[in-house]
């Protein structure tokens, strides 16, 4: 290695970037509409959870909406009908996603590649039909008017700023967890499976266990995103379990950059911005999302962050 060795005391450019982003996140609600920011953060978390699976294990799930949507239902039901405090409602949602993820993952990892994508999509559609029929989801109406409640019985989340900092804290915490997973020995094995599965098997790793654990973790984090979203918008609806939501999270990750740390966040905010901007004009959101999909696959496969990072590095070396 010819690069300058970094002693334990020095600060790397990446750390500065992360700190700057956290500060930006803390002051953002004073400049930008907080509801938009919270929506962006929820979807960024959803996309980051999805990216953990696609970017680091190489598994394309086309059914992540089932975790996102069902957690939202359970959190909404818990907060509204059982009177759970927000943190317990969110925990209940995450637990649901973990159980659902462990079960569907156990079945889905029997196939790989495109079959895996089709199996997850099919299970997600099944859960969609369950959501249409089950009485507690209230069908087309969804669960409306979910109370945000008081966090730990103390902090009133009906205040938009309190809600924002709660969402932001969860987002940062979840991203730290994902960072920790990726850089752990477990994460190294995941990347080995992604790059060369037969080799990982021949080295003695029980690949299926690793895949299942990664799938369950990803499902749980996607569930966290769904639960928080249910509290932010005080609503859990069929749109969250629909395959469109599964497609959107794929798009966010693809647009931002598969397998990059910040890519899903960038992609999520872009897609949410497009949704907000074009929401008035009928089906244009769908058309635009489709066009971006086609564009990304044909010409832009490394995504925003995947393109920007090498460019910034090159500039850094020259400058």
């Amino acid at each position: 290695m010819s690069s300058t060795p970094t002693s334990s005391g020095s600060v790397s450019p990446q750390k500065i970037l992360v700190l700057a982003l956290i500060v930006l996140g803390l002051i953002a609600p004073f400049g930008i509409y907080p509801i938009f920011l919270m929506k962006g953060l929820c979807f960024a978390l959803f996309a980051a959870a999805f990216n953990l699976l696609l970017g680091y294990v190489g598994l394309l799930s086309f059914g992540h909406a089932m975790f996102f949507g069902f957690s939202a239902y359970v959190t909404a039901h818990g907060a509204k009908e059982w009177g759970l405090t927000p943190e317990l409602a969110v925990l209940a949602g995450v637990a649901t996603a973990v159980v659902l993820g462990a079960f569907t993952g156990w079945l889905a990892i029997r196939r790989s590649g495109i079959y895996f994508a089709m199996v997850t999509l099919a299970f997600s559609q099944m859960m969609y039909f369950v959501a249409v029929q089950a009485p507690f989801t209230h069908g087309e109406d969804g669960i409306q008017g979910v109370p945000r409640g008081h966090l730990f019985g103390l902090i009133d989340l009906n205040s938009t700023l309190n809600m924002y900092y709660f969402v932001f804290a969860l987002f940062v915490g979840a991203l730290l967890i994902i960072h920790r997973i990726i850089h752990s020995p477990f994460g190294q094995v995941l990347k080995a499976i992604r790059d060369n599965e037969p080799r990982a098997i021949s080295l003695g790793y029980e690949v299926e266990r690793y895949k299942l654990l990664a799938f369950t973790l990803s499902a749980g984090l996607a569930g966290l995103a769904g639960s928080v979203k249910a509290l932010v918008f005080q609503l859990a609806s069929l749109a969250d379990v629909h395959w469109h939501a599964s497609g959107e999270v794929v798009l966010m990750t693809l647009l931002g950059g598969v397998g990059t740390v910040f890519g899903p966040t960038v992609g999520a905010f872009l897609v949410v911005a497009i949704q907000n901007y074009f929401s008035e004009v009928g089906s244009w959101v769908t058309i635009i999302q489709g066009v971006i999909f086609v564009f990304c696959v044909l010409l832009f496969r490394s995504g925003m962050v995947g393109v920007l990072t090498p460019w910034l590095k090159r500039r850094g070396i020259r400058g």
Partner: protein, 295 residues
């Protein structure tokens, strides 16, 4: 009144017929998917959207040009197939050297675009399409009433599926196709134009979807969302059957339609989910699918 297992025969046979019709559509669509997958190694996510396009082209031919059902049955699949071949030549062909997942993502994007455009133009309420007068009415079979059009759909789909199977298994062209599926490079070395064959295969698979769309137009209302609701079930059918064999795709399609119909009789609440449950069970017992080969 005759009853079978405590169910009126009329209801039982009625649901079985509905199941058979759904099965006919599953079979035609999964056959096209299997053909395309065999040669191109991609899962065509826009298959449902192209099926919807078939129905819409038939509806447009009738309302704009006054061309009837029989014309539409020939013209609509041709037009949609040309559209599909343009997609293959301009976009899909760039992805063959990449991971197969990119083909899935691209066709998913295309499905969104096609569906979005039709939704923007025609809304989401369905357009009615009348049954052609030659096929209107029905026969009373004694134990049930059989609308002629529905009998025609089942017959037409069986003939199409069988014809495609014979074309692939028994003709020289089919032999080239099967050879190219096994080893495209070698077939090309023997002087067969594989890229053209790929384009034509994609066109053929898409045409099958469009024919299914035209056949479906008088049964279901013509609406922009008709394809996306169907395609996910067809994916489950494909997972259950495994894409290894053409005949397997056809048989699985019809069988699952019947299973769905029977579920509607005995336990209607599960009718929309039963295929996915079957998929879970098949994944447990035979992960490669009923007719699939373990790769």
């Amino acid at each position: 009144m005759m009853t079978i297992f405590g169910i009126p025969a009329q209801a039982l046979f009625g649901q079985l017929l509905l199941g058979l019709i759904n099965g006919a559509f599953y079979a035609m669509l999964s056959l096209g998917l299997a053909l395309i997958f065999g040669l191109l190694n991609i899962i065509n996510f826009s298959h449902g959207a192209l099926y919807m396009m078939g129905a819409f082209v038939a509806w447009l031919l009738l309302t704009v040009l006054g061309a009837g059902y029989w014309t539409a049955l020939v013209v609509a699949p041709l037009l949609v197939a040309v559209f599909g071949m343009i997609i293959e030549r301009t976009m899909l062909c760039r992805l063959y050297k990449l991971d197969h997942l990119y083909g899935l993502l691209l066709t998913f994007g295309l499905a969104l675009v096609i569906e979005g455009v039709f939704r923007q133009l025609y809304g989401i309420s369905g357009m009615p399409y009348a049954v052609p007068k030659e096929l209107a009415g029905g026969w009373n079979l004694g134990f049930m009433y059989l609308p002629i059009y529905r009998a025609w759909v089942v017959m037409a789909s069986m003939v199409l599926c069988l014809g495609s199977w014979l074309l692939i298994e028994k003709t020289k062209l089919g032999a080239y196709l099967r050879a190219a599926t096994e080893n495209a490079t070698l077939v090309q070395a023997f002087g067969i134009n594989v890229p053209v064959m790929i384009t034509l295969t994609y066109g053929f698979g898409v045409a099958l979807a469009a024919i299914a769309g035209v056949l479906a137009a008088p049964i279901y209302s013509v609406n922009p969302l008709m394809g996306s609701n169907l395609i996910i079930v067809v994916f489950a059918v494909v997972v259950i059957g495994g894409m290894g064999s053409i005949l397997g795709a056809i048989v699985t399609g019809f069988l699952l339609g019947l299973v769905e119909g029977l579920t509607k009789v005995f336990y209607p609440e599960a009718a929309s989910t039963v295929i996915f449950v079957v998929m879970a069970i098949v994944l447990l017992i035979k992960p490669a699918g009923l007719f699939g080969k373990r790769s």
